[in-house]
Symmetry: C2
Subunit: 77 residues, 2 copies
């Protein structure tokens, strides 16, 4: 089976967020994850990196990334 475990990276530490993830898709300003049993989790995060052969997805908060983009936008206006 090719499901993966999703970890949440926070302050340099990786915490297991969800096991046996099958589906990942954007949902509002975050992600929806569905595991192989059909259980869903919603998280305000983006994919930091993902290695399928290692069955590993690392998520991170989007606040920082978004703030950077917004600053650039505001400067341009």
């Amino acid at each position: 089976m090719c499901e993966a475990n999703a970890y949440f990276k926070n302050n340099g530490q990786e915490v297991l967020f969800m096991e046996s993830v099958d589906v990942i898709e954007p949902y509002e300003d975050g992600l929806k994850l569905v595991d192989i049993f059909g259980r869903q989790k919603f998280v305000k995060a983006q994919i930091k990196d993902m290695t399928l052969l290692n069955h590993r997805i690392v998520l991170e908060e989007i606040a920082e990334a978004k703030r950077g983009a917004l600053d650039k936008t505001v400067q341009r206006l």
Copy 2:
């Protein structure tokens, strides 16, 4: 092996973009994909959806999504 094929969705059609993808990570304003042979591709896209059990990643252009978010930001300023 748990690599996946990446498809690019454009105007309702899905075109094979890269086979046997192992690694996906954000790169500048798009994504970097690396296949099981270490070949890299960079694409201005975001993940539209992904089903690991089906070995399937669907990418889409980010222009539309970004424009929507930017409009909302500008209205709020």
